[in-house]
């Protein structure tokens, strides 16, 4: 089975995307479609006393205004609002009652015949509140943090800090060289290009078809059923294309509730599109304050590490991810403590954002390692090699594979790291200060249970169906590649169906687990089809496959052929004809093999060059080399794009991105993509992506996943390069020019 897997393939949905034919959630129309416009709260905490909707209702073409007072019936218990990936606590309930829990909270939906009228009328809603004191500033809550809750089951334990080892305080005190630092990562918003949208189409009889921007159509389906007491067969959720997710679409967002409320209330199709500012009232990467202390012996290996983290969550839910575990996993240290505390703020619940936990925690860890290297007067890469571990340092077990050494070696060679002058401010180019920095990255390699249906026709066309999503990652294309190889047919003979809740079950598209899950799922189902064909082939007169076992045949070139003797083959079309069928369909669930004796991770090494204008403090990331070890790469073209995009995210995280809140009102001040800076084309220069060879047998295809690993460590490599260029260590992101100006 080889041919397409591991090659460079253009996206099979490419033509749709470059011609405008790919349809996103706001682009499905229906007769009688009405438009909803959201009215958002202007206070951060309190109660709605009165909503005056009369001004809005007087506008011609306004159909209705929906508030907590006239909304359709909704569930009255937290369990109904718990989606597949909800954190602990009590989920926010849109338009449920008069409580205001964050600034920007939806408190009314104006529904009109046109979007222009809906928007105009929404501005005519008058609201009276009783305000309560709010807190949105992490730094005001440092004395009121809580420890992350103790896990009540193994699935919760993956996010809690690792156990302490040895006597870290004593070891730190007696260490030959110590580094201690506090690092800060601000709130960051996902800012995917597509606005969150739901088009809820009310069908005669009360069924709903919902086109929603989401990373999990079945998660949204279950959620809508829970909230509105509907049956799964009456709610179908579709998301064939998604204009960027990055974690923002893992949980159902409030636009889907509002669209369904209006569709049920009015018994007609309703579309709700968030405005860009309203997108900042959804989840976000939690701000994170971390203190790291590292003690090393003079030989440059670690004696002690303490890593203490504070992140933010809402008052109603307790969101946290694994933060400190990455430093525990990566580097050997006999003495260590890890702590994670939470600050509750009157804000929406924080959420997963690309490489949640790792992007932030490894930023601090890898900057601290750089600072330790400076203190030890050794090369930062050399320090990583001295501290290298072939075993998972939390559970003392081997890795299924770990080609991080090769990442370091190949990345350093491609970058030219050996030409680095270690002294800060020692390198210049045309007047600019030049800095070189590097960092390590690590993420989980996870596989989840998934179900795939394949229908293979006699003439060699296959339809592959699974309710997963392609959020831009290339899922359509890798699914077709794996199916084509597994079934021995040309890529163009494969059609992919995904993003539809009516298809076979898939988990949400996140955590870098879909590539491994769906590719192995396709292989399993294809094997069932092969076995099915073999059973029929064995009954054919004079069959050449009489004594061949199911593992000894392959599908290739339209034939069912013996792996041992290629002359023993029958055409699939003849097999099906003999069986009196024109297609074979199989649906199989594939679960990961339990392998707790080994750790399963991806790794990376990032090398970055920055150029800093000494007078203006302007920083350019001139060059990045990202070397990634992530098992088998299914499609070298789309995989490289994922890593490339992650590096661009790292540039944003290091130098630009920060959600700013006016704490007087608890409101985001830069709730738009002009004032919230994300990298643009002119910010991005030379990026080289290397995939190192890393055979892995954790799953039959050896796939590990790529969605997160490319981001982890990038901000640290850039921050370390800025230090090397300027001699100034900036520990609070983003490293804006005001923080480096006047460095001389």
């Amino acid at each position: 089975m080889a041919g397409y897997i591991g090659t460079s393939q253009s996206r099979i949905d490419g033509v749709k995307k470059v011609t405008g034919a790919a349809k996103y959630a706001a682009e499905f129309n229906a007769p009688g479609l009405a438009y909803g416009s959201i009215v958002a709260s202007t206070i951060a905490k309190g109660r709605i006393v009165h909503i005056d909707t009369s001004g809005a209702k007087r506008v011609p073409s306004v159909i209705d205004v929906i508030t907590h007072q006239n909304r359709p019936s909704m569930a009255d218990n937290d369990k109904a609002y718990k989606d597949d990936v909800a954190p602990l606590g009590s989920p926010f309930r849109p338009l449920y009652d008069n409580r205001v829990m964050f600034n920007g909270q939806p408190i009314a939906l104006v529904v009109a015949e046109t979007s222009e009228v809906a928007r105009d009328a929404a501005s005519r809603i008058r609201v009276e509140y009783t305000e309560e004191p709010h807190v949105t500033n992490l730094f005001q809550q440092l004395d009121a943090t809580i420890s992350v809750p103790q896990p009540t089951n193994p699935s919760e334990a993956v996010f809690t800090p690792p156990s302490a080892r040895g006597t870290p305080e004593q070891a730190l005190a007696s260490a030959a060289v110590r580094h201690e630092g506090t690092y800060y990562v601000p709130i960051e918003n996902h800012n995917a290009m597509e606005l969150f949208t739901a088009t809820a189409v009310y069908e005669p009889g009360g069924k709903l078809t919902v086109y929603n921007k989401t990373q999990g159509v079945q998660n949204v389906q279950r959620y809508v059923c829970g909230v509105f007491g509907m049956k799964p067969e009456d709610v179908r959720v579709l998301s064939p294309f998604m204009g960027g997710g990055f974690g923002s679409g893992l949980r159902p967002n409030f636009e889907v509730v509002l669209a369904v409320q209006a569709a049920l209330a009015l018994r007609r199709p309703v579309r709700v599109v968030l405005t860009r500012p309203q997108m900042y009232a959804l989840g976000y990467r939690p701000a994170m304050l971390q203190r790291i202390a590292i003690g090393a012996n003079s030989g440059g290996t670690l004696d002690a590490i303490t890593h203490d983290v504070i992140t933010v969550t809402s008052q109603n839910e307790t969101f946290f991810r694994q933060e400190t575990g990455w430093s525990a996993l990566l580097y050997k240290s006999a003495n260590a403590t890890y702590a994670h505390r939470l600050a509750r703020l009157d804000r929406p619940t924080s959420s997963d954002q690309r490489a949640p936990g790792a992007a932030t925690a490894v930023y601090a860890l890898e900057c601290a390692m750089d600072e330790l290297a400076v203190a030890l007067k050794i090369d930062p890469l050399d320090l990583r090699m001295r501290c290298y571990s072939d075993r998972d340092q939390i559970r003392d077990r081997p890795y299924s594979s770990k080609a991080l050494r090769e990442c370091y070696a190949q990345g350093a060679a491609a970058f030219g790291w050996d030409k680095r002058n270690p002294a800060p401010r020692s390198m210049r180019d045309d007047g600019d200060l030049v800095g070189w920095g590097m960092a390590t990255g690590v993420w989980d390699a996870t596989q989840m249970p998934i179900t795939v249906r394949i229908a293979l026709s006699a003439i060699g066309h296959a339809e592959v169906a699974c309710a997963t999503s392609d959020i831009g990652t290339g899922t359509y294309t890798i699914m077709a590649q794996v199916a084509a190889d597994s079934l021995g047919i040309p890529l163009e003979n494969v059609s992919i169906k995904l993003g539809d809740s009516a298809l076979p079950p898939s988990p949400v598209e996140g955590g870098s687990w879909i590539a491994a899950s769906v590719s192995n799922g396709i292989a399993t189902t294809a094997a069932a089809i092969r076995e099915n064909l073999l059973q029929i082939a064995k009954t054919m007169p004079n069959t050449p496959l009489a004594n061949v076992g199911p593992d000894d045949v392959a599908l290739a070139g339209g034939d069912l052929v013996s792996r041992l003797d290629a002359t023993r083959a029958v055409a699939i079309v003849d097999v099906m004809q003999h069986g009196g069928i024109d297609r074979i369909a199989q649906e199989k669930t594939t679960s990961p093999v339990q392998d707790e004796d080994r750790a399963h991770n991806t790794h990376s090494a990032t090398f970055a060059e920055v150029k800093v204008d000494e007078q203006l403090g302007v920083i350019r990331v001139a060059r990045v080399v990202s070397a990634v070890a992530a098992g088998r790469i299914l499609n070298t073209k789309t995989a490289a794009s994922q890593i490339l995009g992650s590096v661009v995210w790292g540039i944003g995280m290091a130098l630009q991105e920060e959600t700013l809140i006016d704490h007087r009102f608890g409101r985001v001040m830069n709730a738009n993509i002009a004032e919230y800076h994300v990298p643009v084309n002119a910010d991005v220069y030379d990026i080289k992506v290397i995939f190192v060879d890393e055979p892995d047998d954790s799953n039959p295809l050896g796939v590990k996943g790529l969605g997160e690993i490319g981001l982890v460590g990038v901000a640290a490599a850039i921050a370390n390069a800025v230090y090397h260029a300027t001699g100034k260590r900036v520990r609070d992101l983003p490293i804006t020019l005001d923080k480096v100006i006047g460095v001389a």
């Binding site: 253009s10 470059v18 499905f28 129309n29 800012n191 995917a192 073209k637 084309n681």
Partner: protein
């Protein structure tokens, strides 16, 4: 409804508008499913007539004067290839060509384009053949989620027509009004260079 994946069979008024052509300005541009109103009713409700040519086809519509060119395309003509990413002129996803010049269609009212020729992503390919930029974007994987892509392509087509972008640095600068959150920028620059070489 038919197969939900392809959307309901109802296609808002595009065909009807085309059929109506430039003969008389009739109110065919109402929201999907709304009852057609007579021109006089339309006038009384503050609606205005506009005639513009989109991808070579003349459209005559009677619309709410607050309708942006972007919403006209997406909501009235079902030309949903042009994307709404911010509705504030910040992201470039809505870029179309007006008489060959790049504009943010979200920042302009449709009535301002009386008599103009608008080219959208749907009009970029000639017949069944992809525009060299479209093929280059596929070849270089110059997109991931695809949402900013129509705007990137229209911007690239515009700057090529302007003849201003000669070097990768100039391309980067001139393409910086089009945000790609997936971060495909280096591939976008490579794709544009390929297309410039061909044309």
């Amino acid at each position: 409804m038919t197969d939900p994946e392809d959307g309901p069979t109802f296609h808002p008024t595009r065909r009807d508008v085309i059929a109506a052509g430039a003969v008389v300005p009739i109110a065919m541009a109402l929201p999907p499913g709304a009852a057609a109103q007579s021109p006089s009713v339309a006038a009384a409700s503050g609606r205005v007539a506009v005639s513009l040519t989109i991808n070579g086809t003349q459209h005559v519509l009677t619309i709410d004067p607050r309708t942006t060119l972007l919403d006209l395309l997406r909501e009235h003509l079902d030309l949903t290839g042009t994307k709404k990413g911010c509705d504030q002129g910040q992201c470039g996803a809505c870029t179309v060509l007006s008489d060959g010049r790049r504009i943010n269609s979200c920042l302009t009212f449709a009535v301002m384009f009386e008599g103009r020729h608008i080219t959208t992503i749907e009009g970029l390919a000639a017949g069944g053949t992809l525009h060299p930029l479209q093929q280059a974007f596929i070849d270089h994987d110059a997109f991931q989620c695809g949402y900013c892509t129509p705007g990137q392509l229209c911007s690239a087509a515009g700057l090529m027509a302007e003849g201003r972008a000669k070097t990768p640095d100039e391309i980067r600068e001139l393409m910086s009004g089009n945000i790609c959150r997936c971060g495909a920028y280096p591939n976008i620059v490579a794709a544009i260079q390929q297309a410039m070489g061909r044309s």
